[in-house]
């Protein structure tokens, strides 16, 4: 919705350009200056990522000599072999992907189930329930009360501790509600006269009409689950249930736990660290160019609500 309005505004640059035909030469120089500036800025922004990738692919000697800047020296992939063997990294990757998909699905179902009724204008308790939800955004009980609550439900050290406490974000629910609000309710009326139940109206009318918002929110949920580490530190004490982020944290902190010898502390070499960082960035790096559009839209959705 917001995107459409942004697009319909005529591009201000185009107008400025035709307006400034008189001083075309200086205008071109000006443009080239800014283009160069922003290309440099973008390059600086991706240097950290280039650095990590090049370290992960460089030979050990080159790293120790300090020859590697942002391009691999002595290309090889040994570090990746080692990283994948350490602490069952591949299994952890797979588990993290599954957890991310599961969390995203649960979050989305909860969000839609809450947002669809709240978007309806004939709901008498709607505004009360809405206030009830919005209050939770400002009244955060804090880490310790949350911990005891999770403990009360016997979720400590189970995978549910990573799924249930964050099963819905009120902020995203409000965005979803705004999207549902943009649907004309006469559609629902027509469906009801045909004998549709509310569930079917939601599933077959409202959801297909809001696919872009749903995709955006699902992506946001997926990213926050993939990147989340706080709840694992609080609620999980079992390395089988650690996601990639936690495994990576242990690796970066140079603690290598081998099952046979108990826990032994040992420095993880720089290139193996870099390789594990790259591996855990990889899903994001692959998906990012294709879904960046949705993320950008997501910010606008939030801004419209604000």
């Amino acid at each position: 919705m917001s995107n459409a309005s942004v697009k319909s505004v005529p591009n201000p640059k185009k107008i400025k350009e035709t307006g400034s035909e008189l001083n075309n030469a200086s205008s071109r120089a000006y443009q080239i200056c800014w283009c160069t500036f922003f290309i440099i800025v973008s390059f600086i922004a991706i240097i950290p990522i280039l650095r990590v990738i090049s370290i992960s692919m460089s030979s050990k000697d080159a790293i120790l000599r300090g020859d590697v800047f942002i391009w691999p020296v002595g290309f090889n992939t040994d570090a990746y072999d080692k990283a994948l063997k350490t602490g069952n990294f591949l299994r952890t990757l797979g588990y993290s992907v599954l957890l991310m998909l599961g969390a995203s699905a649960i979050n989305m179902v909860m969000t839609i189930l809450m947002a669809f009724p709240l978007a309806r204008r004939n709901l008498k308790l709607g505004s009360i329930i809405m206030t009830f939800c919005v209050l939770t955004m400002y009244l955060n009980p804090g880490t310790i009360p949350n911990y005891f609550n999770v403990k009360d439900f016997n979720l400590i050290n189970t995978v549910w501790a990573l799924l249930i406490p964050g099963a819905m974000s009120v902020y995203n629910m409000i965005i979803m509600r705004t999207a549902f609000r943009s649907i004309d309710e006469s559609l629902y009326e027509a469906a009801r006269i045909e004998g549709c139940s509310e569930f079917r109206i939601m599933w077959q009318i409202a959801v297909p009409l809001t696919v872009p918002t749903i995709a955006t929110l699902a992506l946001f949920y997926a990213v926050s689950r993939w990147n989340g580490i706080e709840d694992q530190l609080y609620y999980i004490n079992n390395s089988q249930l650690y996601t990639v982020q936690m495994t990576l944290k242990q690796m970066i902190e140079s603690i290598k736990i081998s099952a046979e010898e108990g826990s032994t502390t040992q420095m993880t070499p720089d290139n193996v660290k870099a390789a594990s960082i790259t591996l855990s960035m990889l899903p994001m790096l692959i998906v990012y160019p294709f879904v960046q559009r949705f993320f950008t839209q997501g910010i606008m959705l939030g801004a419209v609500k604000g």
Partner: protein
């Protein structure tokens, strides 16, 4: 299936309740699970706040919060005498203010100048590159910052920046060892992570501007700088002030993963903030009661500040954030 149409044809004069429920019970049923979730995981924990006024026994960890003995405000008194608590409060303020001073203007400047570009390709590419770090976790960013800022040593290697400094003939800068330099790294990585997000918000605000204003200023002979200063900036002022007020309101609250992941044993003097202090006291020191008291103090101060900020934004003629 539903009885609403029938009740509309033959309205029930005795009361609105029955036909209303008949028409909407399915909607209420849908909300049942989410509402149970919100009660159980958002409201019920608020009751557990009482642990801040009770005594937690580390030798009997399964004792329910309700059965612990009351101690009144003892933990708050202890916190106010605890120099480590004051230090973490001060660190929280320093790190947040640094974010505000260094990190806040940066995306605004980028957005204003990016708006000057006529090339859509460069603008898209810049957005793509700057927004990417937003999707990396702080674990990854902490790992990256070590690869960038570690000391360079012969036969050990080191971070990119010191690598360059040493190869230019300088000496190592202790980015990750010296608390002041560490703060600098914390802020730089914060800008790197979040600039793209704010940039997109500002760009969206700029895109919805009225282009005829800038055009009129041009015809009246305004120079580029004048157009930026007198036309572009005033138009994104509402967005800037809203975001600024939100940040000021959050000045005592700090995320956990960023300082926790970025810190190391050398810089705890600068990196111990309220959230990590609470974590240390509770999960390492098994003092859940004391940690809860500190967390409660932070929440209360945080809510007061947000309310003040909201009032302030309303006074300034902006829409409130709540």
């Amino acid at each position: 299936m539903t009885t609403l149409p029938r009740s509309e044809i033959r309205p029930n004069r005795k009361g609105w309740f029955k036909p209303y429920i008949a028409g909407t019970w399915q909607l209420y049923a849908m909300m049942l699970i989410p509402i149970i979730y919100i009660i159980c995981f958002k409201y019920k924990p608020m009751l557990h706040v009482v642990i801040a006024f009770k005594k937690y026994n580390a030798f009997n960890p399964n004792l329910s919060v309700w059965d612990m003995p009351w101690v009144g405000f003892r933990w708050f008194e202890e916190a106010f005498r605890d120099s480590l608590f004051w230090k973490s409060l001060a660190n929280t303020l320093i790190l947040n203010l640094g974010d505000l001073i260094l990190g806040f203007p940066f995306p605004i400047l980028l957005a204003i100048f990016l708006n000057e570009l006529t090339s859509n390709k460069v603008r898209k590419a810049t957005q793509l590159a700057l927004y990417l770090p937003n999707f990396l976790s702080w674990v990854i960013i902490a790992g990256i910052s070590a690869q960038l800022f570690a000391n360079y040593m012969v036969n050990v290697g080191g971070g990119l920046v010191n690598n360059i400094i040493v190869s230019l003939g300088g000496t190592n800068v202790p980015f990750l060892e010296n608390p002041s330099w560490w703060r600098f790294v914390y802020w730089i990585m914060g800008i790197w992570q979040s600039a793209g997000y704010s940039l997109i918000i500002y760009l969206a605000a700029l895109m919805s501007n009225d282009p005829s204003l800038s055009e009129a200023a041009y015809i009246d002979g305004a120079t580029r700088m004048q157009r930026i200063w007198h036309v572009t900036v005033p138009q994104i002022m509402p967005t800037i002030s809203t975001l600024l007020i939100m940040q000021v309101g959050k000045v005592v609250s700090i995320s956990f993963d960023r300082p926790y992941m970025m810190s190391n044993a050398n810089v705890t003097d600068a990196s111990q903030v309220i959230s990590t202090f609470v974590y240390d006291r509770a999960f390492t020191g098994h003092r859940f009661d004391y940690a809860a008291a500190i967390g409660l103090f932070q929440s209360v101060v945080g809510i007061i500040l947000i309310l003040i900020a909201n009032q302030g934004s309303k006074k300034m003629g902006q829409e409130g954030i709540i």
